[in-house]
């Protein structure tokens, strides 16, 4: 009951997702479509679960006046403000939740966090990266060329530099990415089949 039913559910949902591709019969498509719709609804509940968990954990800290509780209070208030305005006023263009909270709070902070990562990856590379082998040299040269080729003075350094960088991005880089992608695809297919057939059961936990 605790392990067999989940494995059976995984098998049924997984198999129907696969056979709808190989047997595109209307009846199969209908069943697979219904199962997929159910899965979408269940996934949306998982988001609610995640939000409830955030509220529960941070709310408890605020209630107990635990460490950093003023920050947790800010988190809870921000969450409640977004949910209360978003649920009743919607999140479409023109709504308070979208135009004020999302565009003036979420977007600036998200892009600043991504932007500040430039400093962290540069300093991490500076501290950890040492050119000890020729492969490391190849990596460094490739990185420097790509960075140089994407600044306005690239043309002045060497008229062909932007085109060479474009070639590096479109050819050797694409070859490497393609190799990784093929490997990842094979891995994902194998893992997917193992999960569907009940060989891989780690998602069920230990109990």
């Amino acid at each position: 009951m605790k392990r067999e039913i989940p494995i059976l559910i995984t098998l049924i949902f997984g198999v129907f997702m696969i056979i709808q591709f190989f047997i595109p019969h209307p009846s199969i498509n209908r069943i697979a479509g219904t199962l997929q719709e159910w899965a979408i609804v269940v996934i949306s509940f998982s988001y609610v679960l995640g939000s409830a968990n955030i509220l529960r954990i941070n709310g408890e800290i605020v209630y107990r006046r635990g460490p950093d509780w003023p920050y947790k209070l800010a988190l809870v208030l921000a969450f409640l403000l977004m949910v209360s305005t978003g649920l009743f006023g919607g999140i479409q263009e023109g709504s308070f939740a979208n135009d004020k909270l999302f565009k003036h709070i979420y977007v600036p902070m998200a892009s600043t966090m991504y932007a500040s990562l430039a400093f962290f990856i540069a300093s991490a590379a500076f501290r950890a990266f040492r050119i000890r082998t020729w492969q490391a040299a190849v990596l460094a040269i490739s990185a420097v060329l790509v960075m140089l080729g994407r600044i306005p003075i690239a043309q002045d350094i060497w008229s062909e530099l932007p085109d060479v960088v474009e070639w590096i991005m479109n050819v050797p880089n694409a070859v490497a990415q393609r190799g990784i992608l093929i490997g990842a695809a094979l891995g994902a297919i194998a893992t997917g089949l193992k999960v569907i057939l009940g060989i891989e059961r780690s998602y069920l936990g230990n109990e």
């Binding site: 949902f13 979408i40 800010a74 403000l81 649920l87 990784i180 093929i182 297919i189």
Partner: protein
């Protein structure tokens, strides 16, 4: 009023940037507000885009009682909060895992594996590239001669590097080495590209701070 919200965005931007100096209360506050707003937005997006059209409307307006099954399965996720019946949450988890696993098998096989292999089944040399080089002797035209060779033979060397059923020694060592070299070029290009993307984003933030908010530039 617009200035008020622009100022909020400006202050939060500065608060996030302040982490470059050291961890501080401004950054911590901004970080927590960010998580709260992001979680709230995802919650609302799921409510309006999934819960209402996929569950509530079919159930209440179209009388599709079968939708009570996903509703019950979704609600079962919350049994995680209760010790004795927490195992029931495995059922909806299995729905999610099974669906994703099935879609991943087909998606990766048809979308990635087959298409990527197919795109590499091309002639090793294209005579037109040699003609282009002889008429216009640029370095890029010279490199273009090897484009298809890299996409075919180069890809095999990259894949061979990840193939561990054969020991990489003798001649095979050089094949794996060629694969590693291509991988290193790829990693370097990826690193450089990531840094430049982040720098572009940083300029955008500075533009917002100095031009749109403070209007001093």
């Amino acid at each position: 009023m617009e200035l008020f919200w622009t100022s909020i965005a400006g202050i939060l931007t500065l608060s996030v940037l302040s982490f470059l100096y050291a961890d501080n209360p401004f950054y911590k506050a901004a970080e927590h507000i960010f998580i709260g707003i992001a979680a709230g937005y995802v919650f609302c997006a799921q409510f309006h885009n999934v819960f209402i059209p996929n569950l509530w409307t079919p159930l209440t307006q179209h009388g599709e009682l079968i939708m009570l099954i996903p509703f019950a399965l979704g609600s079962a996720l919350f049994t995680r909060f209760f010790k004795g019946i927490g195992w029931i949450s495995r059922w909806p988890m299995s729905v999610i895992i099974g669906t994703y696993a099935g879609l991943a098998v087909i998606g990766f096989a048809s979308g990635d594996l087959v298409l990527q292999v197919q795109a590499s089944l091309i002639p090793v040399f294209v005579p037109a590239t040699i003609d282009a080089f002889t008429t216009n002797m640029t370095f890029v035209n010279f490199l273009n001669i090897f484009t298809n060779l890299l996409f075919t033979v180069g890809l095999i060397t990259v894949l061979f590097y990840f193939f561990f059923s054969l020991e990489h020694k003798g001649g095979l060592k050089h094949v794996a080495l060629a694969g590693t070299t291509l991988l290193m070029i790829g990693f370097g290009a990826g690193y450089g590209y990531t840094v430049m993307t982040r720098i572009a984003l940083l300029f955008d933030r500075f533009y917002f701070l100095f031009v749109e908010w403070l209007k001093i530039a």
